[in-house]
Amino acid sequence: MAELIAGKTGDWEMVIGLEVHAQVTSKSKLFSGAPTDFGAEPNTQVSLVDAAMPGMLPVLNGFVVEQAVKTGLGLNAQVNKRSVFERKNYFYPDLPQGYQISQFQHPIVGKGEIEIDLPDGTTKAIGVTRLHLEQDAGKSLHDQDPKRTFVDLNRSGVALMEIVSEPDMRSAEEAAAYVRKLRAILRYLGTCDGNMDEGSMRCDVNLSMRKPGAPLGTRCEIKNVNSIRFVMAAIEYEARRQIEILEDGGKIDQETRLWDTRQGVTRSMRSKEEAHDYRYFPDPDLLPLVLEDGLIERIKATLPELPDAKKHRFMGEWGLSAYDAGVLVAEQERAAFYEEVAKGRDPKLAANWTITELLGVLNREGKDLADSPVSAAKLGGLIDLISDNTISGRIAKEVFAEMVETGKEAAAIVEEKGLRQVVDTGAIDKLVDEVMAANQDKVAEYRGGKDKLFGFFVGQAMKVSGGKANPALLNETLKKKLAP
């Protein structure tokens, strides 16, 4: 979906690459035993190492390494058996060591690829350049005191995976789809909770503009864009800004910009000339990380079925459309819910009810699947009643509304309210006779060739039956009796 932007001088194409910082799901930090819980009182989750006290040394958290390997495998990427932690040197009050321990020349994960799902049901492969492990910094609080800056080191040393994409995206939608897919994969793997609100997933956008087919233009990096909505808005804004400069005959300065959430604009943070010289060098406190033999294979064996594989299975085995399958696999819980509903039932019917009805209601009410009043088993019960002709699809919607309201079983509601569908041919015959008797003029018109009136008879008969007449049976009987 390479969507071009029309400018004064012709069409422009966006070239987008993303750097996503994903907090590794782990009880303790990358190089210390301090806890990582979100929302704790400032400076309560800080070890001597995190505060960079004199003489303190980092010790690598083995669990975090396994999480990174797992993520690498989930991104269909090369996992490097040997990687190196380096120091990235710069001064800032929320960086107590005066350097961030990161990976530079030798990351733990190399090239990979993920498939993104676009709104039109098509997919596109986006390259992953690398994934490396690094420490998060603390937080500088500028709003606590009129004159002073406070520092909270709770996040200092928390393990992050920086996942860098190739510049393969061509629109804000593609960038959004990439972030959504990446988040889904991380959540399936359990290696990052993907909560952008809590900052456990953060995004830097690299964007340049070019005329279609032209070589790459100069890019700007937009830092810390913290929701999918902002990713899209920042891209749209920045693309327009760059086009305007280029069309006025200007040049793009390679620089780092910040997304201003309130104004909805990007602002210059520092130019290339002001860029830090980070003086990377291998951290002498840490030996090169060498993965033990068999670790990668052992972790590979524990991988869950990932969204893309699941999607293709749903399409292949169960005949779902790419769109439906994509919606269902977007979250692991959702896919599991659907699979429970679909088990032993009509998979398409199950998909329809899960997506259109249940997710529709939950979406309107702003609820998660976890809070759903209708469990997978109960939704399955409702579908069973449709499949065995106990109720019609129309009645089913009524029953479903009641289920959402009360949380009751479908069968119980049907019994209570006497909604069981009329399938007795005698009763249907009687019903049809009544309707025909009451509308003899219409019967005559119909027999005189006014076919359209058939719908009228169906409606009348349904009304008399209180909606309970089996539609197929009713149609058949009407056709027979109305025949001249």
């Binding site: 004199p54 003489g55 040197n89 005066g98 406190d285």
Partner: protein
């Protein structure tokens, strides 16, 4: 004989026999410290704590529960963080810093019953070879040239440790050695000092200078005493990723002086132009002693020796420039206010660091910066690998290597101060083994023409401290070094 003249081994023996109590031993040392305070060896004295520990030690011994170092009074280099006791690394930037934690090395010593007398002066952040760079004033060597009143340096960076042990103000002391900071001051002060193999002693809680080189080790007045101390200091520590998980031998058992059949390497490249005759003399003498004791002397080649100092002065400053970034005035230590964040950094670091530390931070920042990294840091790492390989190849022909420890005896305070290169040359014989991570010991071997101690260095294979102690003991036995510092003769 005064209690302070005992060796550590003798003191342990007397304590065991109840000929002396830990309290008596400690009191004697506290008195000696008070008497020689002018040496400026101790930055902090902890007499109350020492006496409490000594009393507790005597109680343990009375109950028959004495530990390997029970009641032995020691001085601690101020680079080791000591819980509740000010730790400054000889720098103004850490003035008033009181750690809430204990370094692994010192914790090991206290676990084994040792008594802490205080914290010892040192070159600022262990950068120096004279102890002149301490923010708390220079340390004086208890030795003087006969007939001269010139104050001499004790060497560095562990100058306070060497001076204190030489002046009988401690039975032993901890030091750290990055490029020679244990071996060179041991040689200047006429005592024994060993830097074990990199990874033997945990670096946790020891303030970092250059992480890939820093290694702790002991000072004492005999080879065996250092062997006893090193055993307590060593051991695997999961808190230091570069610490090595290997058994710690009882090295005192290796101090028997039997070198029969051992092959001792004499590196051709250490015979340098302009080397003083007295250094050559003591080196040749040392080789002869070992030959007399039944060792075979072999000439070996360490072809990359001449690149060792330049390599060291790229690698060590590079690491130090990063390691010292944490002293920013934000969380602990000295803060000099400024109108902006940058000014706060600049003022705190300008005021807190001394000239030598600043010089090395600037060199280190330079060699790591964009455009210079490959030419300096990367090249130095490559040369470092070649230097290590030199030793690997040499050790195919010999079991240990004998060299002088330093190119001169102790020099006077103020000398070489305006010439950093001349100062750096002090480490010419010690730096190569540091770059290769090898164990090295300095043993007093004789006196210079002007009556000052000279040391010989023995280098061993990685983790072969046993071999190093064996050869060192043979040198000690043959040298029969019993000269005493001028200061003690006066007293």
């Amino acid at each position: 004989m005064s209690a302070v003249d005992l060796t550590l081994a003798e003191a342990l023996d007397r304590l065991a026999k109840k000929d002396i109590s830990a309290v008596e031993l400690t009191e004697a040392h506290l008195e000696q410290m008070a008497q020689h305070r002018s040496l400026n060896a101790y930055l902090v004295e902890t007499p109350e704590r020492a006496l409490n520990e000594a009393r507790a030690s005597d109680e343990r011994r009375a109950k028959g529960a004495a530990k390997p170092l029970d009641g032995i009074p020691l001085g601690i280099k101020d680079l080791f963080c000591t819980k509740g006791v000010e730790t400054t690394a000889g720098s103004k930037i850490l003035e008033g810093f009181v750690p809430t934690y204990e370094s692994t090395v010192t914790a090991n010593l206290w676990r084994d019953g040792a008594v802490m007398l205080g914290k010892l002066n040192m070159d600022e952040f262990a950068m120096g070879s004279s102890n002149m760079t301490s923010a708390y004033g220079p340390v004086e060597n208890p030795w003087r040239r006969p007939g001269s009143n010139a104050k001499l340096v004790p060497g560095g960076s562990s100058g306070g440790s060497a001076s204190a042990v030489a002046a009988r103000m401690a039975l032993g002391a901890t030091g750290t050695d990055t490029g020679g900071s244990i071996r060179q001051p041991a040689a200047f002060c006429g005592i024994v000092g060993i830097k074990p193999t990199y990874g033997r002693c945990s670096r946790w809680g020891t303030i970092a200078f250059a992480s890939s080189l820093d290694q702790a080790g002991p000072f004492a007045r005999t080879v065996k005493d250092t062997a006893i101390l090193l055993r307590s200091m060593s051991g695997f520590d999961p808190k230091d990723s570069t610490s090595v998980d290997m058994p710690v031998p009882d090295w005192a058992k290796d101090c028997v002086g039997n070198v029969k059949g051992m092959r001792i390497g004499i590196p051709r490249q250490y015979r340098m132009d302009g080397m003083p005759a007295e250094i050559d003399r003591v080196w040749t003498q040392g080789a002869q002693w070992l030959r007399d004791a039944g060792a075979e002397i072999v000439e070996i080649d360490l072809p990359h020796t001449k690149y060792a100092l330049p390599t060291y002065y790229v690698v060590a400053p590079a690491e130090c420039s990063s390691n010292l970034a944490r002293y920013d005035g934000v969380r602990y230590g000295l803060r000099a206010e400024g109108a902006s964040l940058t000014e706060l950094y600049e003022n705190s670091r300008a005021e807190g660091f001394g000239a030598e530390v600043k010089r090395r931070i600037m060199i280190g920042t330079y060699v790591l910066s964009a455009g210079y990294y490959d030419a300096y840091y990367l090249k130095a790492q490559q040369v470092r690998a070649l230097i290590a390989r030199d030793f690997t190849l040499a050790f195919e022909k010999c079991d240990a290597i004998l060299t002088p420890t330093a190119p001169s005896s102790a020099f006077a305070m103020g000398e070489k101060m305006d010439d950093p290169i001349a100062m750096y040359l002090n480490d010419v014989f010690t730096v190569p083994a540091s770059l290769a991570g090898l164990p090295g010991i300095s043993v007093p071997a004789g006196l210079s023409d002007d009556g000052l101690p000279l040391g010989l260095q023995i280098l061993g294979k990685p983790f072969d401290e046993s071999g190093v102690f064996r050869v060192a003991q043979a040198i000690e036995d043959a040298a029969k070094f019993d000269a005493k510092p001028a200061l003690l003769k006066v007293a």
